[in-house]
């Protein structure tokens, strides 16, 4: 099967290394995302695949064909641009027909194919309109139809949903997945929005400073982040600086710094072999932590912590608690304000118990810099995501 292979690809702009020695192979038919904050090089990478940028070194191979130095108009790939880039002086029909028109396809064939494409994106009745008369979502559909009509081997999507509002974005996301299933070609999707990437992709490559720091299926990246950056950029997490104080067959004992000179001990399973005395970082997703007023009973295989509620944020789908443990602020997502039916809701300043299973922690073989912070009290749920993305 045709796959796209990127080998040792680098690109610099006047000395600034935008893409740094990227190697990746994308199997045919996958929906593959490049995810990262703005300036991480994901768009440059996409533009090199499209042919808009000349790489400094490395190559791009599509199936058997080296396309590194081909001009854009000779590549069997098409792009969905961030602002759609529909031709303002052409009707919807002419926009979609453009690629075929250039290839001098017979008129009747063009008509038939355009209508088929417009049907695919549910825009059959808009053929004679001009782009200025369309809504954002409609423009998006036309951009997709205009690209897909050329039967590319790969479709490149550059932040295709960034300009749409939230509701439409969710809708178009499902639509895109359906279109991907219908045409069955490779989609390469670039976004800074981790929830978009997580929900739509077969696989995700997380990028930072021009490099791919981790790639794999979304759940893999979420559950098993390879770096602090991955853990922090995708979803939300609590990070503890820890030192290995005990090694068992199944788990390690860790001494975590609570920031006030004190420390607490937790147990964790591990996926690499730590050595005694090693310093590392523990990632603990907020939704893995249970929060109760009463002391939990069976404590085998569970870690238990004592803390005080500093803040409660009701978010509809769940409630977020900020719990102070020493000087650390631990974030906890809980779907019930009352953990037991006879219990009254947890309140500000209340002392609480936090507990989670040993397997829910994830060890990262990096040292957590304090200035990266554990929790910024203001950053909550989607707002936090928006903030990181907001730099775009």
């Amino acid at each position: 099967m045709t796959e796209i292979r990127i080998e040792n690809l680098s690109k610099d702009f006047d000395g600034f290394l935008a893409v740094d020695d990227v190697n990746i192979a994308i199997p045919f038919g996958e929906l593959y995302s490049f995810l990262g904050p703005s300036g991480c090089g994901k768009t440059t990478l996409l533009r090199m695949i499209a042919g808009f940028e000349i790489p400094r070194s490395g190559r791009i191979v599509l199936g058997e064909q080296d396309i590194t130095d081909l001009p854009p108009y000779k590549r069997p790939v098409n792009t969905i641009f961030q602002n759609y880039s529909l031709f303002p002086h052409m009707t919807v029909f002419d926009n979609v027909a453009f690629g075929l028109h250039i290839r001098k396809t017979p008129r009747e064939d063009i008509r038939a194919q355009v209508h088929k494409m417009l049907a695919l994106v549910k825009m059959e009745d808009q053929a004679s309109k001009y782009p200025a008369q369309l809504s954002g979502g409609q423009k998006q559909r036309i951009a997709i139809a205009r690209a897909l009509i050329n039967e590319p081997k790969v479709l490149l999507l550059d932040e295709p949903l960034a300009a749409l509002d939230l509701k439409l974005r969710q809708h178009m996301l499902i639509e895109l997945m359906n279109i991907h299933d219908a045409v069955g070609i490779t989609f390469i999707y670039v976004t800074h929005d981790q929830s978009e990437a997580m929900s739509i992709s077969d696989r995700v490559a997380v990028m930072e400073n021009g490099r791919i720091v981790q790639s794999g299926p979304p759940d893999d990246i979420y559950e098993r982040p390879a770096s602090i950056f991955s853990a922090y950029f995708i979803g939300e997490t609590n990070l503890f600086s820890a030192e290995v104080v005990g090694l068992e067959d199944e788990y390690v004992q860790l001494k975590c710094d609570s920031g006030d000179g004190q420390s607490f001990e937790i147990d964790s399973t591990f996926h690499f072999t730590p050595v005694l005395g090693q310093k590392l970082t523990v990632s603990l997703r907020p939704e893995k932590i249970a929060i109760t007023r009463g002391k939990p009973g069976n404590q085998d295989d569970f870690n238990v912590l004592r803390g005080t509620i500093e803040d409660i944020l009701y978010l509809g789908t769940h409630t977020q608690y900020i719990v102070k443990v020493g000087k650390l602020r631990v974030r906890v997502f809980s779907q019930h304000k009352r953990v037991y039916f006879d219990e009254k809701a947890l309140d500000w300043e209340e002392p609480v118990w936090l507990f989670w299973h040993d397997t829910d922690t994830w060890l990262i073989n990096e040292i957590h810099e304090p200035d990266q912070g554990n929790i910024n009290p203001e950053s909550v749920g989607s707002i936090q995501r928006g903030k990181r993305a907001g730099a775009n």
Binding site: I54, P55, R56, S57, R59, D66, T68, D69
Partner: protein, 300 residues
């Protein structure tokens, strides 16, 4: 399989850049050559002619500083003085009249705004000479204004309105007003009027608000408008010729007479043209300096 090295790719990029540069040269070449031959070089000829000796129909190619000597000793001071006076008054009156108009249009509703702009532009598109001519009809001693004044017994005999310095200023203002209104409008249109409200909300009265908010923000428009009115006014010929009198000759008229009328004095016309050119350049430099200083002092 082509596996290009970093080095060859870099030189490819440089080559593409060079190619673009060459095509830029080729594309701009016709305009460049045209402006060199028919705009820039003629000024050198003006400079050369200003040092020659006048003949009745042509010039004699003998070097002399006569023309500049006459300008320097003040024989031709009055036409320059008149031109600057005219340009000054025209600019000031255009600004005073144009500002409220531009302000009014900028604050009008969107739909109305375009109509109002068209209303300003129509006279501007009407042939210059026709507009001047229509003022002659209006101002002539047997013209419209005088007959109205006589009928209303506001005057006992026809007033001498045409062929006065005042008439020249009036028609200059009439012709150049749109040149002032349009740039003023384009800055006022972008002005954030909530600032004005904020200032008034903070207790500034309307005059204060105008002088501390509106005016400073509109300065760019005032600069542009003043430039568009003052400079052409310096070289005015047609308006003084058609509505002015022969006692007040402006520099444009004198230059034209020296070129067109016999006995010709092309060296004199050239010297005056060159002097005018230098004065304009000086003026532009001063304006540019003031503008730059304003930009630098701006802190927002």
């Amino acid at each position: 399989m082509s596996r290009k090295t970093a080095l060859t790719r870099k030189s490819l990029e440089a080559q593409a850049l060079r190619k673009r540069n060459i095509s830029s040269y080729l594309l701009t070449l016709p305009a460049l050559l045209w402006l060199l031959v028919f705009f820039l070089i003629p000024y050198f000829i003006v400079l050369i002619y200003s040092f020659l000796t006048p003949g009745t129909y042509d010039v004699k190619f003998t070097f002399t500083l006569d023309a500049y000597r006459q300008i320097a000793n003040g024989s031709y001071l009055r036409p320059f003085f008149l031109a600057f006076r005219l340009a000054f008054f025209t600019t000031v009156i255009c600004l005073l009249l144009g500002f409220p108009v531009a302000y009014y249009i900028a604050r009008a509703k969107d739909k109305l705004r375009n109509t109002l702009l068209i209303l300003i532009i129509i006279p501007f598109w009407t042939n210059l000479i026709i507009r001047i001519f229509s003022w002659r009809i209006f101002l002539a001693s047997e013209g419209v204004l005088n007959s109205v004044l006589l009928k209303l017994h506001l005057a006992s005999q026809p007033l001498e309105l045409l062929r006065t310095d005042l008439a020249v200023i009036l028609v200059m203002v009439y012709v150049y007003l749109p040149y002032m209104i349009l740039p003023l409008y384009s800055v006022l249109e972008k002005l954030d009027f909530t600032l004005l409200h904020a200032a008034m909300d903070l207790g500034a009265n309307e005059a204060r608000a105008f002088f501390s908010i509106t005016l400073p923000l509109a300065v760019e428009g005032i600069f542009a408008g003043a430039l568009l009115v003052f400079i052409p006014a310096l070289g005015a010929y047609l308006i003084p010729q058609l509505v002015g009198n022969q006692q007040s000759l402006y520099v444009g008229q004198v230059i034209t007479y020296k070129i067109k009328n016999i006995p010709r004095n092309w060296p004199m016309a050239s010297a005056m043209s060159f002097t005018l050119l230098l004065l304009v350049a000086l003026l532009l430099l001063v304006m540019y300096y003031l503008y730059r200083r304003r930009l630098r002092s701006r802190t927002y």
